[in-house]
Amino acid sequence: MPATTAGGVLLDILKYYAIFESACALFLIIEGVLNINLGVRSTYVKLLKKLFQFGSRRIEKKRAKIEKTQQPTKVWTALATSKTHVLESDEEEKPFDVPFIDLPPVTPGDFRLNSIFPVVMSGMKDIIEDEVTKAFDAEELPAWNMLTRTNKGYQHISWRLSLIWFLGFFFRHFILFPIRFMVAIFGILMLLMTAMVIARLPEGNFKVSLSRYSNTVTFRILARALSLHATYHDRENIAKRDGICVANHTSPIDVVVLSCDNVCSFVGQLHGGPFGFLQREIAKAFAHIWFDRAESKDRALVTKRMQEHVSDPTKPTILIFPEGACINNTVIMMFKKGSFELDCPIYPVAIRYNPMFGDAFWGHQPSMPAHVYDMITSWAIVCDVWYLPAMTREANEDATQFANRVRLAIAKKGGMIDIDWDPRFQAESKKPEESRWRKQQQKMLTEKLITGPKYPPAAAPTAPPPPSTVPETEHNRS
């Protein structure tokens, strides 16, 4: 009967499909356990790179430009800041796209009716686009990478492109996703089970080495669940257990990226629900530091526990994300100074994701599962990790200055823009931040408009503006 044969064929297809998917999952798991790398992922990424060649190269060029400048560009708004940077450097182009025309310099110390123009225009520019809000939005891609979520209304969608998109969609959701999902479940279960076993072992060297080993293996498996392709640079600087490892924060995946290469202890707040259960179980076997809500507000307690951990030679390096919030990986924001107050070396790490393959940034996704689903159905998660040489606090530095120094080093290495804004103040109550910065603005305006500069201007005001401004305008009158 044709019906049953059709049904039979369908069942056969499903059977082979399930076998294929499971085989791939098993292959990845074995790869992880035995720590062998058969190069499947790198070949896959190379293939994808060819596919996205154009867009990818554009991103890399943009970042290289940022890295080339002497200092990571300090984007702190309004008038003269960005302008003096342009005048000082020899480059014509700014390292990032600032959508406003260069304004001629204000005559210092001489207030006129048109003195407010630069202030007003700065505000208008920020209404169109501002660096801080942008930092909490996913990074803009120079070309579409075939994911629906990044389709910003690119106008010309031809049927050919739609076909490629559909094939990609099918591949990602029906071929990749089941494999990765199985591997991820296996990884989490393994994490739980090994944690439960190890927790019951007596204290001693065996327990310590076993927990390290299982930690690394589990995270390697989880990395394969995300098709994580990480390149680790400067591994000679890798964090040792006598200090604290700090890194920029983009996503919960940062933890997986770093744990694959080095055993770390995490520090964080205890969540509720199943995730909290996981946190508690694994803390019994691995030396993570979790705080509940009340404890995390007690700075002294936090510092004490961290200090105890650092002094214990059996415990692995602490991993901290001093920004305290997920940022979109193009900028780096203010660091909380807590970890910089301890008397131990800091091992800075810069993590840079390539968003063409899949955006790891945990931004507006309301929940962790939705975010993880997004990542498991991306093409791959591709990132670079740079281990920076250890830094210690100098005698004349306080914790805040030290934190800033570390932050600048990470920003420079990772090609990120440095914004001196506290990311927690994206929330409603940011009055203290606001008045601090507004006062700075007012001080600067006072000097520029009323009292005159206390130092000679950075460069002669006759520097010609970029040629793309309106032609034929005479710039020698203003």
Partner: protein, 189 residues
């Protein structure tokens, strides 16, 4: 991400807005994306708080004045997308080859004038100049010094000596100013 909202602008609206403002379709789509990302409660309109949620604008000494200019003649104190585009289009650079739509020199100067005109009565007094100065420099300069700067500024620009700077007098005062460059933005498309 605000990008999903790009689908909500239909072609006719796009054309209409393009004609009124002079923006290209790509520029309008970008502005719409920005508008929706500022519109936190998805109401299709922006409140003053929505604007002041932009950190750089909140700390701008003239931030409140800038925001006020968007809300000047709006019913129920909310700004819709068309108004948003209308005001921003004033800052498009003046192009020699195209006729200016809303981005005329007069409109640009009128916007700047509104920064000073605190009570919206179409003229600027010494007190208003003083208040703007206070916004700009905060507590760094004593009031009496600011007062004399304000008075000097008024005298320099008050042609008919009536103690106020009218819009016309403002235009005259700004004749030498490179208005187009100083009051224009480059809009990425």
């Amino acid at each position: 991400m605000g990008n999903r909202a790009t689908i909500m602008l239909d072609k006719k609206e796009l054309e209409q807005i393009g004609k009124e403002s002079g923006f290209t379709p790509n520029q309008i789509v970008r502005l719409y994306s920005r508008f929706t990302s500022l519109d936190k409660d998805n109401s299709g309109t922006l409140s003053r708080a929505d604007f002041l949620r932009i950190p750089e604008l909140a700390i701008n000494p003239l931030g409140d004045r800038i925001v006020h200019s968007f809300f000047k003649n709006t019913p129920d104190d909310r700004v819709n997308f068309r108004k948003f585009v209308e005001i921003l289009s004033v800052f498009r650079p003046i192009q020699k080859t195209k006729e200016a739509v809303l981005n005329t020199r007069e409109n640009k100067l009128r916007f700047a004038f509104q920064m000073y005109d605190l009570n919206d009565d179409e003229k600027v007094s010494v007190a208003e100049i003083l208040t703007v100065l206070q916004m700009m420099v905060g507590v760094n300069i004593p009031d009496d010094q600011l007062q004399s700067i304000a008075e000097r500024t008024l005298l320099e620009n008050d042609e008919d000596g009536d103690g106020f700077i009218t819009l016309q007098e403002f235009f005259t005062a700004m004749e030498e100013s490179d208005v187009d460059n100083r009051l224009s933005l480059r809009f990425l498309s």
